[in-house]
Symmetry: C2
Subunit: 204 residues, 2 copies
DNA sequence: GGTGCGATGTGCAGTAACTGCAATTTCTCG
DNA sequence: CGAGAAATTGCAGTTACTGCACATCGCACC
């Protein structure tokens, strides 16, 4: 099935109506049938365009790290691993080259609907896995002589988990109820900077 | 509905059969009807005992931090926040006072089934929220004079995210496919100890 | 101006998870 | 035994989602 431009148009129409309806009535009160009626397609068509109801609402974008940023990250001298990592994720695409108005509406819905917020968190898993790989690569390059590759890999996976947690924090904000309308990486980073020194451990 | 001992017995029977069936046939191949037939109850009864199919399989335990441990954490001098936190979560109940054999079977299923693994991760959210509160409490006690309560809260929430990420790592292990049969907090902690110094930042 | 072919949309029947309601069976205890 | 509570059940309905066959649409090519 080599999709043409028509397909994209219909997808767009469905998305738009889905977001509009959810914003008006809330996630649970909007059924797939309702979206179909509003966008003038059959239910079967709906599921030809989106695998799940959820996807129609939050979109099908997959957050990706920029290729160039990755190269820069890998080429760095390696003195400031954490800082370089934060720079890396700071350049993450905020979610696809869609209509910015649609994206704004989406974020408003996502941050206020637990089910959607959670699905957004799950998307971070792909980022997390990507990160784990590049981190492992960089750590291997700058590794001390006697280090086991398994250990390095474990450390990389753990670090990727930690960075993902940071991203979750920046998305979710401090108050579960009324979070920022958009992920605020800037202020999150400032919070992290303040937190880190407090973790300093005396015995090291 | 003041549940009596009979109720618990039936729950147990359903759980046991559910776990057995999933272990034999895999998560997707096991329907609620199948579990009902195997455990000799009607479907309606099934849903009287468990809100979702998933709950019947992974159990209804909610991981909690030990009260005493929390007190100890709060009473600590505060020099080693991170270490104390790790001690705190180390004492987490591994998931209810159930039949240990059942729990073992559960972990085997959970760690090999993405849908179940994910539901297990979601359970960590309650722990994470608990942690955020006690961390905030402790940070407030040991705060420097001029610190804003909002800042402290933000730092606490972020730190709770990071600890939760650590727990996720210890559950998931390094290889997504073949993780440890049980969360291995010990070795995870060792990995963290090795990782931390590598994050050391030169400019501070 | 057809005509054919691939892209797109639809109808229909079915499955699976879950819910509400009202009825019924099964204890338990006096 | 009999009353009342606990536990289970049947049934009908809703919602998300799938497979399959069929219809339609649009566009290139003759």
């Amino acid at each position: 099935m080599e999709r043409g431009p028509r397909h994209a148009m219909t997808s767009r129409r469905i998305e738009t109506e889905a977001v509009r309806l959810v914003r008006e009535r809330g996630y649970d009160a909007v059924t797939v049938d309702l979206i179909c009626e509003a966008s003038g397609v059959s239910q079967r068509t709906f599921f030809n365009h989106f695998p799940t109801k959820l996807d129609a609402i939050v979109g099908t974008h997959r957050p990706r790290v920029d290729e160039g940023q990755v190269r820069r990250f890998l080429a760095s001298t390696g003195d400031d691993l954490l800082g370089d990592l934060l720079d890396l994720v700071a350049g993450m695409a905020p979610g696809g080259a869609d209509d910015p108005e649609l994206m704004a509406a989406r974020w408003a819905i996502i941050t206020t609907t637990p089910a959607l917020l959670q699905s957004e968190m799950e998307r971070l898993l792909s980022v997390q896995r990507e990160l784990a790989e590049v981190i492992e690569l960089r750590m291997t390059r700058h590794a001390a002589p006697g280090e086991s590759p398994d250990d390095i890999r474990a450390e990389a996976v753990l670090l990727a988990h930690l960075v993902a947690a940071f991203l979750r924090f920046s998305i979710e904000g401090v108050e579960p109820g009324g979070p920022p309308a958009r992920p605020d990486l800037e202020s999150s980073r400032r919070t992290l900077e303040q937190l880190l020194p407090k973790l300093a451990r005396p015995r090291d």
